[in-house]
Symmetry: C2
DNA sequence: TCCAATGTTCGATCTGCGTCGTACTGTTCG
DNA sequence: CGAACAGTACGACGCAGATCGAACATTGGA
């Protein structure tokens, strides 16, 4: 089970991360990884997110997220398992993942 | 000294904030506000950031940042004072401003 | 060996948005 | 009042990036 090349977390800049997360599709992908765990490009967890894009487009978004240091891709036989780099991202950018988890402003108002 | 209309911090979503911060110019503006305090569109603190854009473009970016809940604009006579909504942003998105403060990955590596 | 399944790469297309210039608004001061 | 200043609004333009389809690569199984 080899890994696709990815940046060391210390070399990742917030600028690149922000650009990566600015796209609604990629934000959905990261949220799905955070909530439902890993998936492959054809998995149900991904399909349940409601993102309906071509597989080439999905491949593109995964590449952007990987270059931003947010996810990892492991080659597992015929498929590629996509994983959120949870601990590393939390260490490099504390609180970031928690922010993404709360899309509903109403809950913030209730705090 | 009236205030230009701005969203309540509880109604601000992370999606909009990320879109606002994804632009390099706006990121520079927020960093300048965080480091050097308030400024007006013609102030030295702003000019020192090195952003060389037309005033209509600057006005556009300020509007985007204001709609994202990150800054506040107070009308002060002939000029408009731009302020970072520091405490509110920190309350709504803890850790966000700290992330923006550290653009150099080398420092993160040294931690 | 050949085929099916899973992604990637490449080229083309198209849309969003960052940028600019100009005109306009509002404020202060002479 | 009128001129100068500070910024906004608007329309136009151009480019980066999101999207797609098709061709290609790689692996596993029949």
């Amino acid at each position: 089970m080899t890994e696709v090349i990815e940046p060391a977390i210390e070399t990742v800049t917030i600028d690149v991360v922000l650009s990566a997360l600015a796209d609604p599709v990629r934000l959905t992908l990261v949220r799905a990884l955070d909530a439902a765990g890993d998936w492959t490009c054809g998995s149900d967890a991904l399909r349940d997110t409601g993102v309906t894009i071509g597989k080439s487009t999905l491949s593109h978004h995964i590449k952007v997220l990987r270059h931003a240091g947010l996810i990892r891709t492991r080659v597992d036989g015929i498929r590629r398992l996509v994983t959120l780099r949870h601990d590393e991202v939390e260490q490099r950018f504390p609180g970031l993942l928690a922010m993404l988890r709360d899309p509903d402003p109403a809950r913030a108002a209730a705090r």
